[in-house]
């Protein structure tokens, strides 16, 4: 069978419509319908595995043909996103099982996947913009099906999405006006000879749009509340798909459309990168450090994940904007890896909320005995998040660090490494407060999430482990994508990286083997010794005091309160507050402007007459003077 790109794009949408129709019959019909249509894209994508298609025309706008195409990078990401959509859908079925919104959510879901494919396949600035806007629109509606505060989140999200969209729209129209075409290739050709201000302005406008969706630091304000309040399956999509779409576009625009050569031509180079890329590196680094530090002091499980997600996209931005083969490989690999491990975290937290009904960390605890599989998934995911071998997060962060070393940027490296340590803090907080410690009495009857709900976490956990131990598998796709972006792909083997300029050799299986060896030795010592006796959680050292069930002795509220004290001076500088002040100012001014319409007839008439007189005078006098 030969599937066109448009067909891949329409497959989920078609499936969604069918499923929506099928929901009238029976829920199972709907579910299976849609499931089939979510699996189909894998088969359809299969034939594009090693192809680069550049123009598949599908629409004509303003005399220009809009086209779709696929390349190594978008192939990799569409494969990844298809998987995440599939898993998120399975999760969604359970999450919405009691809600009447499920039919609509599935419909929106299908359109979202179609739009995501659209952005990935777009080969011109108008198509990508159209699909990007559709993503924002659907996400807006999906968020609204979440928790209590989700409606505020919706508004915050859409405000920023609109700012980003209009910023991009400005660039799109401007470039079309100047270049006379929408196509990536033509735009790129125009830009290579365009005056410097135009290049800079359009670049900044585009990048604002992308980075809003990627929730990079000064533009992240919408992200924490949105990620935290959206339904869990949507949070997965936000973090693992939509954010990555923004970063994908960033990659495409920086390396493929604008091009590093162009930047090097028009601006000085700092630390072997063009100035603007250097600025972006710092933005990425600030995102890492601030995102991490704020994540540490959160009290809400999903807020931690949200801030963590912000911080991790800082890593991606940092890696990508280094502009070296090593850095870009690290950034792209981290896109893949972050999608996977953050997906697990959201799935697990979602599962915990599904069972316990709260995402407040201080109310949870001790669930390890009740939900062991969730615990293992989350354990793998937090190891990956903290960038500890042998899970996948390590490899990509490693590449980014090495790239920073290669570029001789000790300060950025320091920030990035410190962010790694910080991430260890917040992920520990997460797993500790949910799974370890005291099991509250009310959760004694909690069970493990249903088997189908475990599938998403387990699949992604396996992937995280596989991609961690054998980094060659994702590197196969990443190096192809890198070649497409015009870099010399870095050398890699199935097990890691050979010694090459700027990169010390790395062999993850050997690390894992040594780790396993160490475990075996320690476990031998441990299990050969006298057996252990399990004690009740209340049989605990408490300075001789006798604990009872109704006492909450677990330490889970204000876990890092002393850390809060340390960073308190910086809270005064919070970006949120700057925006709030700005919004307050705008509102005041707007309110005064609004008062032009007083509702008082005398005012209106006199105003009209005054202005008429003035205009008439200008005209009459001006006419005489001319």
């Amino acid at each position: 069978m030969n599937f066109s790109l448009l067909m891949i794009l329409l497959t989920p949408i078609f499936g969604g419509l069918l499923a929506y129709a099928g929901s009238a019959l029976h829920k199972a019909v709907r579910n299976i319908f849609f499931l089939i249509f979510l699996i189909l894209p894998f088969f359809e994508l299969y034939q594009y595995a090693n192809k680069t298609i550049d123009n598949f025309y599908y629409l004509t706008v303003l005399g220009q043909s809009l086209s779709l195409g696929i390349n190594a990078l978008s192939f990799m990401l569409s494969l990844l996103f298809s998987l995440i959509f599939l898993l998120a859908y399975i999760f969604l079925l359970f999450e919405f099982d009691k809600s009447e919104d499920s039919d609509l959510a599935i419909l929106e879901f299908s359109f979202l996947e179609g739009a995501v494919f659209g952005v990935l396949f777009a080969r011109d600035i108008l198509s990508f913009f159209i699909f990007f806007e559709i993503i924002a629109l659907i996400i807006f509606f999906l968020i609204g099906k979440g928790y209590e505060e989700s409606h505020n989140a919706q508004l915050k999200y859409i405000t920023w999405a609109l700012i980003g969209a209009n910023s991009m729209l400005a660039a799109v129209v401007f470039l079309f006006f100047k270049a006379g075409s929408f196509g990536y290739a033509e735009i790129s050709g125009y830009l290579s000879t365009a005056p410097t201000p135009i290049v800079l302005i359009t670049f900044v406008l585009f990048v604002i749009g992308f980075l809003i969706e990627a929730s990079i630091m000064p533009l992240h304000v919408w992200a924490p509340i949105t990620y935290a309040e959206a339904p869990d399956s949507v949070s997965v999509l936000l973090s693992s798909v939509v954010k990555k779409v923004g970063l994908y576009l960033f990659t495409i625009f920086v390396f493929s459309i604008f091009g590093l050569n162009l930047f090097s031509k028009i601006m000085p180079r700092v630390f072997e990168a063009p100035l603007i890329m250097y600025v972006l590196q710092w933005i990425g680094a600030l995102t890492i450090i601030i995102g991490t530090f704020v994540a540490i002091v959160q009290e809400d499980a999903k807020k931690i994940l949200a801030w963590s997600s912000i911080a991790q996209s800082g890593y991606i931005l940092l890696g990508l904007s280094l502009g070296t083969p090593l850095g870009v490989a690290g950034g792209l690999l981290h896109i893949v890896n972050h999608s996977i491990f953050k997906g697990i975290l959201f799935f697990v937290v979602g599962g915990v909320i599904y069972r316990t009904g709260t995402k407040n960390l201080s109310e949870l605890g001790g669930l390890i005995k009740k939900m062991p599989i969730s615990f293992i998934s989350m354990l793998l995911a937090i190891i990956a998040t903290a960038g500890i071998p042998p899970l996948n997060g390590f490899v990509s962060k490693y590449l980014i660090y090495e790239a920073l070393i290669q570029n001789k940027e000790p300060l950025l490296l320091t920030i990035a490494l410190l962010g790694g340590t910080g991430s260890f803090m917040y992920v520990y907080r997460l797993i500790h407060s949910i799974f370890l410690g005291q099991l509250p009495k009310k959760y004694e009857g909690v069970k493990e999430v249903p088997i189908l709900m475990q599938v998403p976490m387990l699949v992604l956990s396996l992937l995280a482990l596989l991609f961690g131990v054998l980094p060659g598998i994702p590197m196969y796709f990443v190096s192809k994508a890198e070649a497409f972006l015009g870099f010399d792909p870095i050398k890699y083997t199935l097990t890691g990286f050979p010694e090459q300029p700027g990169l010390h050799a790395l062999n993850v299986p050997i690390i894992s083997a040594a780790l396993m060896g160490g475990f075996v030795v320690a476990a031998l010592i441990f299990y050969l010794l006298p057996k252990t006796r399990s004690v009740h959680q209340l049989d605990n050292y408490y300075a001789g005091e006798i604990l009872t069930e109704d006492v909450k002795y677990n330490y889970s509220f204000g876990f890092y309160s002393f850390f809060d004290d340390i960073i308190k001076p910086f809270n005064e500088w919070s970006i949120d507050r700057i925006y709030e002040n700005f919004v307050g100012f705008v509102k005041t001014v707007g309110d005064y402007i609004r008062r032009i319409y007083t509702g008082n007839l005398e005012t209106y008439v006199s105003l009209g007459i005054i202005i008429l007189t003035i205009f008439s005078l200008i005209y009459i006098i001006g006419g005489v003077l001319w």
């Binding site: 049989d539 050292y541 001789g544 005091e545 006798i546």
Partner: protein, 173 residues
């Protein structure tokens, strides 16, 4: 069969021999006798040279040092702590109060005989016992361990009902 028993015995003997060189006492100062501990463990008398060091929690410690009178409220905690400790574990009754109530012999709130409630391995008499006496007590305990006679914790398990009954009588559990 015999060989194995001999080996096991030898093994236990070696272990006991080593074990006596590392005794961690619970830093659980129940009464005024605790005042004698600082001199015991600091420069002058230096208990650490015998491997005796104060430790913090019940799980980590080997010696429960009952430093003086035990009133009923304290006994409850004391029993909890003792039961939390990991065997082999030893109890040292410290001062006259643990033997016969000492100067609190007629108090309604004080438990007079410790060994009714916990298996005491060594008593150190005196009010207060001096650091020398304390060290002597420790030495005695070490000797008992070496000889395999410090079996208070076994006694507690074997006569669990007896101890529980006594404890219940006082504590009204």
């Amino acid at each position: 069969m015999e060989l194995q028993e001999t080996l096991e015995e030898g093994y236990v003997e070696i272990l006991d021999h080593l074990r006596k060189r590392s005794l961690w006492m619970l830093h659980y100062c129940t009464a005024c006798g605790a005042v004698e501990l600082p001199p015991t463990i600091t420069s002058r008398f230096d208990a650490e040279r015998f491997g005796i060091a104060p430790f913090v929690t019940s799980r980590q410690s080997d010696i429960l040092l009952v430093t003086g009178y035990i009133n009923i409220k304290t006994l409850k905690r004391l029993v909890t702590v003792y039961e939390q400790m990991l065997p082999p574990k030893y109890v040292i009754g410290f001062g006259s109060c643990t033997i016969n109530g000492g100067i609190y012999w007629d108090s309604y709130a004080v438990v007079k005989r410790l060994d009714l409630y916990l298996p005491v391995d060594v008593y150190i008499a005196g009010c207060m016992p001096t650091p020398m006496a304390v060290l002597e007590g420790f030495r005695t305990l070490m000797k008992l361990i070496d000889e395999g006679k410090a079996n208070g914790w076994r006694k507690y398990i074997e006569n669990y009902d007896y101890y529980k009954a006594n404890q219940r009588k006082v504590l009204k559990w």
